[in-house]
Amino acid sequence: MAEPEAVEAPRSRFAEAIWASLPSVLSVGLSLLVCLLMIAITKGSLSIAGSAYLEMLRGGLGDFEAFGEAGVWTLLTRPWGEAATKAAILTFTGLSVAVAYRAGLFNIGAQGQMTVGAIAAAALGAKLSLPFGVHAAVCVLGAAAAGGAYGIIPAVLKLRRGVHEVISTIMLNWVAISLVENWLVVGPLRAAATGDNSISGTDQIAATAALPRLLSDGSRLHAGFPLALLAAFAAWIWLFRTRLGFETRAMGQNAEAARAAGIPSARRSLQAMVLAGALAGVAGSLLVQGTELRFPATLGAPYGFDGIAIALIGQTHPLGVGASALLFGILRAGGTRMQLLHVHKSFPELIQGLALLFVAGRLIWQWALTRRAKRAPAASGPPAPAAPAPPAPAAAVPSGGGA
């Protein structure tokens, strides 16, 4: 059609970043509000809901009032530790999904890759005896290798046989969970019965394999948290500053054009999926080496599936992923404290799920925001839809094979 050639005037990068993150921020806000009302309705009182939220914040950010009265540092550091350990795991699974997404692959399989990584870390941690420091690093690297290897499978199935990665990673999740939790953990790797206390899960890892704690004994804040921040930063550098990252993103947004430009797309896909698997694997190792100190009977919280929410709420931008992981790490650490008011500790997961649902309706936000922008005076209003969208995977067609 007769298109006007002038596009909007260039605006500052900062304004653009704010504008782009708006749908996510609003989604999280709306989700918090909806969930608040939900507690209010089920408990029959808005003030209970309010105090439940307050408890959640105390549990995640620290109980500042009690600290003011008692002056005991653990009142702050313990919640921080809980929030940070959860945020670290969420960062890794979120990055796993985000990196694959940028390469045009929807990695539903972070859960499976994480399970494989966790069992690798648990086995290496319990079976090897290495000096302090080296042991922990070997376990983390072993988990990354295991997760990465598991990530190769969907990549190869897609490249060689045209199997859509959404289908294959769903299948591989259950394969990993079944084999690890219902075979390895109850069979070959079951904890040796010590005395009469029957432990479920694998043997406890050696003290040398545990991730070093960063604060005093009251807090579980461990080296995994700075590692996660580092990983988010490194992923950002890789995706947006290096040639390889550029090639990967180009492939993710238009595989055909990337191939025509001579980008070895098969190799880039494989690299991205190995990286995604490795990141999820490290998430598993953090859970084992930082929190559980063994592979428990079941992994419990579905951090791998949460990674999808974290990645998309963070708009698949590594720094956005870090921010959303931190936020939900805090909320989830606080979830335990909500039980004081008889709200289930998994409540923050509901907030997270709803936020993802609202993020999924991105076009609704864009429509609503541009309508507001239009009504506002033209000069000050934000410009038309800037498509602050994360790239859609090249084809979101989870057909088993086919095109």
Binding site: E5, P10, G262, I263, P264, A387
Partner: protein, 516 residues
């Protein structure tokens, strides 16, 4: 009695129709009348609003303003269903057929005969057979669409409209995918329908066929209706002026006819060393033995009906498609090709579908310019992206190729089609190729942009670049090429020099031996 009254009446009146898509005004106060039994052509450049206007008439688009009257009665079409019920049928440029279903199933879709709640396929086949017979189409109702030729699929589309009792038949760029012979056949059918009292509207930008076919020609430009003239009282030059400037006589119109003759300096005689030699190349099911040669400093055109292996040929040369058999000698080497290797040997590629194969829409213009050479200076420094070098080179190219707007940081997908094509040309020619493979390089561009692209191709030829031009537009191939290969069913069916006869090429395109 009533019928006679209708004949003289206006069958359809579109008055003061406006329609906007976001910020773009696709239709701006357009009015049009259709009379019974009339053969009308709607012409205009790409994006002039022809298809949008017809989509309004077909109920696919809801106009923002204006009214529609059918047989004098004011109507509001809520969707194609209403339009179909009022006797309007449309054959879309891209066929609207379900490939996995049969002809009969496709034709009856939406008004299926049923028996006791179940689909009555027998009756569907009989009904479709009856419609085919009545209008003289030869189609097997039980054949699957995916197995039909393009020409037959188009017939299914027409049968689909007639089966629903269409009085008005809209044909949107129907000849784009047909050979001249198939197009003749289509127009014969259309004339027959018109003689029976059907109104036929032809949307096209091919002025020759419009003049041969229509009684009345309406010209659109930038969303407005600029003229309605009798075919007998106009010619291609006047129509072209109307399309480009909105006036019949205008000095400002850019030259339409950029041809090889125009750049007299470069002729076949001056063609240099061979750059590309294919010998019995087979690749996939569609390319079954291509033998041809391209030399430095010549434009070699590839003509053929869509789907006869031209696309695959271009993919082989650019390394996108592996060769099954035969030899490819490219720039002096014969080793196997991939896109990276092809670029390395000096091949640049302007592919058929920009947004699919050349441009990453959501990425910035400078990122798109670096594609293909993203690992070389000035686009990279070691493993790192060279942001400054990339921006500077992009700005220089945007200046040289007049890309608007100049800003290298906006997403490429937001540029207009013509400007996207400029970005692609700038990028591909900046690589200083020896061989340029251009597939349908002017598709979807307006006339000024078409002329610019054609001029660019001739400039490259003059610089000694070999150009392999694949186009479904026979006129374009004839206008630019020094030599023409015609492809049929995956093989080169013949080679002709510049100035070959259009009919003769058409016969070759259909696999017939050249007669005369």
């Amino acid at each position: 009695m009533a019928e006679i009254e209708l004949k003289s009446a206006r069958l359809i009146q579109l008055s003061h129709i406006s329609k906007a898509f976001g910020k773009v005004l696709a239709l701006d106060d357009v009015s049009l009348e259709l009379r019974p039994g009339e053969m009308l052509a709607l012409v205009g450049e790409n994006g002039a609003g022809k298809s949008s206007l017809m989509n309004v008439l077909y109920g696919l688009y809801h106009p923002d303003q204006g009214e529609l009257r059918i047989k004098g009665e004011r109507v509001r079409l809520r969707g194609p269903k209403d339009a179909i019920a009022r006797g309007i049928g449309m054959v879309h440029q891209h066929f609207m057929l379900v490939p996995t279903l049969t002809v009969a199933e496709n034709v009856v879709l939406g008004r299926e005969p049923t028996r006791r709640g179940l689909l009555d396929l027998k009756r569907a086949q009989q009904e479709v057979e009856a419609t085919c017979k009545r209008f003289g189409f030869q189609l097997d109702p039980t054949a699957r669409i995916s197995g039909l030729t393009v020409g037959s699929q188009q017939k299914v589309e027409i049968v689909k409209a007639l089966h629903r009792g269409a009085q008005v038949l809209i044909l949107d760029e129907p000849t784009a995918v047909l050979t001249p012979q198939e197009a003749d056949e289509l127009f014969r059918v259309a004339r027959g329908l018109s003689a029976e009292g059907h109104t036929v509207v032809l949307i096209s930008h091919k002025l020759k066929e419009v003049l041969a076919f229509a009684q009345r020609i309406c010209v659109m430009r930038r969303g407005k209706m600029v003229a309605s003239v009798a075919a007998s009282q106009t010619d291609t030059r006047r129509l072209a002026n109307l399309m480009i400037t909105g006036e019949e006589e205008s000095a400002a119109a850019p030259s339409l006819h950029v041809t090889a003759e125009g750049s007299a300096a470069a002729t076949t005689a001056s063609a240099g060393e061979p750059l590309l030699k294919l010998d019995g190349v087979c690749a996939g099911p569609k390319l079954t033995g291509a033998t041809l040669e391209v030399r430095a400093g010549e434009i070699v055109g590839i003509a053929g009906v869509d789907g006869n292996g031209q696309r695959e040929l271009a993919e082989v040369v650019t390394g996108l498609r592996p060769v099954d058999r035969g030899e490819v000698r490219l720039c002096g080497a014969t080793g196997s090709l991939d896109p990276h290797e092809a670029r390395h040997r000096g091949v640049s590629h302007v592919p058929e579908d920009r947004l699919l194969h050349a441009i990453v829409g959501p990425m910035r213009v400078d990122e798109n310019v670096s594609l293909g050479r993203q690992e070389q200076p000035p686009f990279a420094r070691g493993p790192w992206i060279d942001f400054t070098g990339r921006r500077e080179r992009t700005q220089a190219l945007a200046e040289a190729y007049d890309v608007r707007p100049r800003d290298p940081s906006i997403p490429c997908g937001r540029l207009s089609g013509g400007n996207q094509q400029k970005v692609v040309f700038a990028r591909e020619l900046d690589a200083r190729p020896k061989l340029l493979v251009a597939v349908q390089p002017t598709r979807g561009l307006d006339i000024a942009a078409v002329a610019a692209v054609r001029r660019k191709l001739l400039e490259e030829k003059a610089r000694g670049v070999g150009v392999l031009l694949v186009s479904l537009d026979l006129e374009e191939v004839l206008a630019l090429s020094d030599r023409i290969y015609v492809m049929f069913e995956g093989k080169v069916a013949g080679e002709r020099p510049r100035g070959a006869d259009e009919r003769e090429l058409g016969a070759l395109m259909l696999g017939g031996a050249a007669h005369g």
